[in-house]
């Protein structure tokens, strides 16, 4: 398709863009030309295109209304490629680039003809909250019938369908002064702060600093035009290294203690983004002082038919003309309640746009403005209002009601309007400041700042540059500098709420995107929605993607009027982050994939991977789960691993176990407090199984503890428990027992731990050990010795979690893999295997050893778990001692850990399966307990399980049932030790 090459509404000699920068883009498949520096909206307008979107509820045709972030209508989808589709992009903000492809949204089949717009004809049936009143019958029909219909009609653009390939960056930053908004106010504040050698960050959401100065054709500052002055200040600041200038950067959120989130758009304006750049960059700024210079946002007029394409904000029209050299039409009407729209009208007139008339709701208007209009031959109607407009896909006429009540018709192709300027209180309010109503100027203004924060400029209510500059200097503690300003236009004046006699006839839109009319707001109040928060939620006013930047004040005024209450008594709704919609990507930034969470690997991990291990995630760790050989499934592999360990031996990577070194003269005393066991009698060189409780008496963690010397313990914890156990210990040590001479150090990662288990364990390691006699006599079960293994310093434990003769070799981590391989060189020829956590689980279950977190769940006491023997009765105190004495923890019928055997030995119970005594009873059944662990035991040739069962200890031999969807399974209650009950193997 060839582009129409002229841009009929581009005005020669206006704006900062050059024809030289002509580029092409498409909208709904049609190719157009625009200029570098355009926004998508200004480029479309240059081509005479106003219709850019469809509204949310009624699917009404909508044109672009604003030139900035407040735009509610012109939302488009932009796709660089399939994976890079972004919905709901504001055409007024999106910078044009060569080849940009945009599509309109929320319409079918096309923007010009949208079937959905029947909603508009039906609209009388859909007032605010209509869906609460209907769609209730028949009962089931809501989610089956009505809801799917409503869901399809609602929503705006389409969500992306593929994983986002773009990169997003994060940066934490600090500064003395953060200035948000680079208009006249922000620029001067930055200049003054920089002079005082403070570190400054100045950000503005636009591609250039300057704010409204870039849109104003008349103003003169220090002898320069607005844009030139802004440029000169920027040039000055660029030279300084204590200033960071961030354009295209939005301050979206103001958090505690001057933490402000900024998001910088880095590549969305580029035709071909360089691969090394992130799409966006998140700045998390902590500032000593924050200066808010957000400026003001112009309001639209609320009158019937105010939403036709071609009807725009006056300030926007002025911006498009003076920044982009684009006019909104050939013949414009003007509808205003303040002075700034006159400036816009005069600019358009100069640019060759006919001004049909200026309609001003005020009866008093400044003589100078009237004179200037007269001089240009522009008719001004004061005390008048626009009562209606005509035109479908574009406005083509307006009806004016004059002060004397007569009606006049005007043919127009555009209408610029201004109801005045609303100071932007967003960030100030987010900083938890409370806006204060100013009766004189009928505006909310910032009050006291609860944080070290100052608001300046238009967002602080300043209406002329002189005031703006004074505030800016003061904000950063600089003395007022005399700055000459000529031809500045005041922001004063304006109306809030409906205007004109006919506001109740037709649709006077308050919130464009959500199709909220003045009528809807009145209806809400009539139905008893007296709080502005109710009005908001009932009508959805202010809940669209522009978050009420245009609509909130109008909505408030209409509600207040209905309630016959002063505006401040009705009040504003809450301002919340983000100021403008902010991508999830910018929040996530780097933390995707491998950076989402650390993935912790042991020094032996790679060996396991090279040897085909399957891994299981345990807390942050990846642990070798099982080592399948060719053709083996998990079940077969685990069976083989267990068999091999029991008959020969196996090697197991236990490095992830938490390790804490407890050192000091009071080490034993401290252990006595932290663990239920007694530690006084334990001799150096001996080890012991310890249980740790919370103060409430429930099991918190467990592990084997080796006593290396009188004042040094090597404590092990569960893999997942390591950090919280150390924290728990530090807590008691620092705050309850600060006088104890004992200190803690995490050694989890200092040691690689290699378990060698099975009848041949000693044979495997003996030749590798030096400096210790590991014979059964000298080194019995539950011993520990510091020696050398493979020539490196080691801590060797004689312990077993499998029930077989077992050793655990701890060597410094850097040697872990080498030692493992040396052990493996000996183990493999002897027929031993490497085994993983699953086989370990099976074997420990065969022995009735518990896994904290699997056989206990935070409601289990040592007594429940059959570990009463590990609780020292005689000790005066240990954490959890008192908790254990609470009535319910001593009551009969608590769930106790027992073993289960299925009557049919082949049936393996499901972990988590529930247990009852009578499977025939009706639902809800009385559940006695549940299966905590369950495995197929190849060694025993039958299934085994552990379960927590009410009064379990007294049920030995009882038959109980596990009701499954396909019938109940009969089980017998047994002890928890299924294998080698006498423990002969352990001691072998």
């Amino acid at each position: 398709m060839t582009a129409q090459n002229d841009q009929p509404f581009r005005v020669k000699g206006r704006g900062a863009l050059s024809r030289a920068g002509t580029i092409e883009f498409t909208f709904d498949g049609k190719t157009y030309q625009g200029l570098e520096g355009d926004t998508l909206a200004s480029a479309l307008l240059a081509n005479g295109v106003h219709l850019m979107g469809r509204s949310f509820k009624y699917h009404r045709p909508r044109g672009v209304l604003a030139a900035g972030v407040e735009e509610p209508n012109a939302l488009v989808g932009i796709s660089r490629d399939k994976a890079r589709h972004t919905p709901n992009v504001r055409a007024s903000v999106q910078e044009l680039y060569d080849g940009l492809a945009a599509t309109s949204q929320n319409r079918f089949p096309s923007l010009n003809f949208d079937i959905g717009s029947v909603n508009s004809l039906m609209s009388p049936f859909f007032p605010a909250g209509f869906y609460y009143k209907t769609f209730k019958w028949p009962a089931k029909a809501w989610d089956k019938l009505y809801e799917p219909f409503i869901r399809r009609a609602a929503g705006l653009g389409d969500a992306p369908t593929e994983s986002d390939p773009d990169r997003y960056a994060n940066r934490y930053a600090h500064c003395d002064v953060l200035i948000i908004g680079g208009g006249a106010a922000g620029l001067l504040a930055a200049r003054e702060a920089a002079k005082k050698k403070q570190s400054v960050i100045l950000c503005d959401e636009n591609p250039q600093m300057g704010g409204y100065l870039l849109s104003d054709s008349d103003v003169e500052i220090e002898g320069l035009s607005g844009p030139a002055w802004a440029a000169s200040v920027v040039a000055e600041l660029k030279k300084l290294d204590n200033v960071r200038l961030l354009t295209r950067t939005t301050g979206f959120g103001y958090f505690q203690q001057n933490m402000v989130g900024l998001v910088e758009s880095v590549t969305d304006h580029l035709s071909t983004p360089p691969a090394d750049l992130p799409r966006e960059r998140m700045w998390q700024v902590r500032a000593k002082k924050v200066v808010i210079a957000q400026g003001a946002i112009e309001r639209h007029m609320v009158f019937p038919g105010n939403d036709r394409p071609g009807i725009v904000l006056a300030g926007a029209a002025q911006t498009w003309l003076n920044r982009y050299g684009v006019t909104v039409g050939d013949r414009a009407g003007v509808f205003t309640a303040c002075d700034t729209a006159y400036a816009a009208a005069f600019d358009l007139y100069e640019a060759g746009t006919e001004i049909a008339a200026i309609i001003d709701t005020r009866s008093q208007v400044g003589d100078d403005l009237l004179a200037q209009a007269k001089e240009l031959g522009i008719e001004v109607f004061t005390g008048a209002a626009v009562a209606a407009t005509t035109g479908n896909l574009r406005v083509n006429g307006m009806t004016v009601k004059t002060a004397t009540g007569e009606e006049k018709q005007f043919d127009i192709d555009s209408l610029i309007m201004s109801a005045g300027w609303t100071p932007s209180l967003h960030l100030y309010s987010q900083s938890r400041g409370k806006p204060v109503w100013d009766e004189a100027s009928q505006r909310f203004l910032p009050g006291h700042s609860p944080q070290n924060c100052v608001t300046i400029g238009a967002c602080n209510g300043a209406q002329d540059l002189a005031t703006v500059f004074a505030e800016a200097a003061k904000a950063v503690g600089a003395k007022p500098t005399k700055i000459t300003v000529k031809d500045d236009v005041s922001l004063a004046g304006g109306v809030i709420g409906t205007t004109g006699p006919a506001a109740d006839k037709g649709k006077a839109f308050v919130d464009f995107q959500n199709d909220v009319t003045a009528k809807d707001i009145k209806l809400a109040v009539r139905e008893g929605m007296h709080s502005i928060e109710h009005v908001k939620r009932y009508t959805t006013n202010g809940m669209a993607t522009d978050q009420g930047k245009l609509s909130n004040m109008h909505g408030l005024a209409i509600a207040a009027n209905m309630l016959d209450k002063p505006i401040p008594q009705v009040g504003l709704t809450t301002f919340r982050a983000p100021y403008t919609p902010t991508t999830f990507g910018s929040f996530v930034a780097h933390t995707r994939g491998s950076l989402f969470d650390p993935s912790r690997h042991t020094p032996i991990h790679d060996w396991a991977a090279e040897n085909g291990a399957a891994f299981e995630p345990v807390s942050l760790w990846k642990r070798a789960w099982y080592f399948p050989q060719a053709g083996e499934d998990m079940h077969e592999a685990v069976d083989r691993e267990c068999r091999t360990v029991r008959t020969t031996a196996g090697v197991f990577d236990a490095s992830t176990l938490g390790k804490i070194e407890v050192v000091g003269p009071d080490a034993a005393a401290f252990m006595n407090i932290m663990y239920t066991n007694g530690w006084d009698k334990l001799k150096p060189g001996r080890a012991k199984y310890g249980i740790m409780l919370r103060e409430d008496g429930f099991i918190y963690d467990d592990g084997v503890v080796g006593k290396l010397s009188d004042n040094r313990f090597h404590v092990t914890t569960t893999t997942g428990g390591a950090p919280r156990v150390l924290n728990h210990m530090e807590d008691y040590l620092q705050t309850e027992f600060p006088d104890m001479r004992v200190w803690l150090t995490s050694t989890t990662e200092q040691w690689a731990t290699i378990a060698v288990q099975g009848p041949k364990a000693r044979e495997i390691i003996k030749p590798l050990v030096s400096g210790a006699d590991i014979s059964n006599e000298k080194f019995p079960h539950m011993s520990v010795v510091e020696c050398k293994v493979c020539g490196v310093p080691a801590r060797l434990f004689r312990i077993s979690f499998t029930g077989e003769l077992g050793f655990e070799i701890n060597v410094p981590a850097d040697y872990g893999r080498a030692v493992w391989e040396t052990v493996w060189e000996r183990a493999e020829p002897l027929g031993a295997c490497a085994y993983g956590t699953e086989a370990m689980h099976v074997m420990r279950a065969e022995k009735g050893y518990i896994i904290v977190g699997q056989d206990t769940d935070g409601t289990v006491t040592p007594h429940d778990a059959g570990l009463t023997w590990a609780v020292a009765k005689s000790k005066p105190d240990f954490v959890g001692k008192r908790g254990l004495q609470r009535p319910d923890l001593m009551a009969d019928g608590r769930r106790q850990l027992v073993g289960l055997k299925t009557t049919d030995p082949k049936t393996v119970l499901e972990e988590g399966a529930q247990i009852v005594d009578d499977p025939e009873q009706p639902i809800p059944m009385k559940m006695l307990g549940f299966v905590t662990s369950s495995y197929w035991s190849g060694t025993l040739g039958q299934s085994i399980a552990m379960a927590l069962i009410e009064g379990g200890a007294d049920r030995m031999g009882e038959k109980l049932y596990v009701p499954m969807p396909d019938g109940a399974i009969e089980v017998e209650v047994t002890g928890t030790v299924f294998y080698d009950p006498k423990g002969e193997k352990l001691h072998g």
């Binding site: 203690q257 530090e730 807590d731 105190d877 001692k881 008192r882 609470r886």
Partner: protein, 100 residues
Amino acid sequence: MLLIHCPYCQEDRPELEFANAGEAHIVRPKNMDEMSDEDFEAMFFIRDNPKGVNLERWRHAFGCGRFFNAIRNTVSDKFLKVYKAGEPRPSDEEIAELLK
């Protein structure tokens, strides 16, 4: 993200370095056996949870590792004072002063 002054590091640090550790000045009696069930409940479960001035514990977990106490306003989330573990609970008069 809060900014928290650590009384041991004597510096403002980002909240990410800290872990909140619940209500401060809960005494764990020396002889717990003599505690009634009521006392145990009060110690382990009952919390002041005030709207306003809260005395709470923090641990500088990713810093000096120390537990310490803080007085913070739970409405404004502003810290009024931090002090080392073991230091006595500031008097109500002192707290009233801080609020001014």
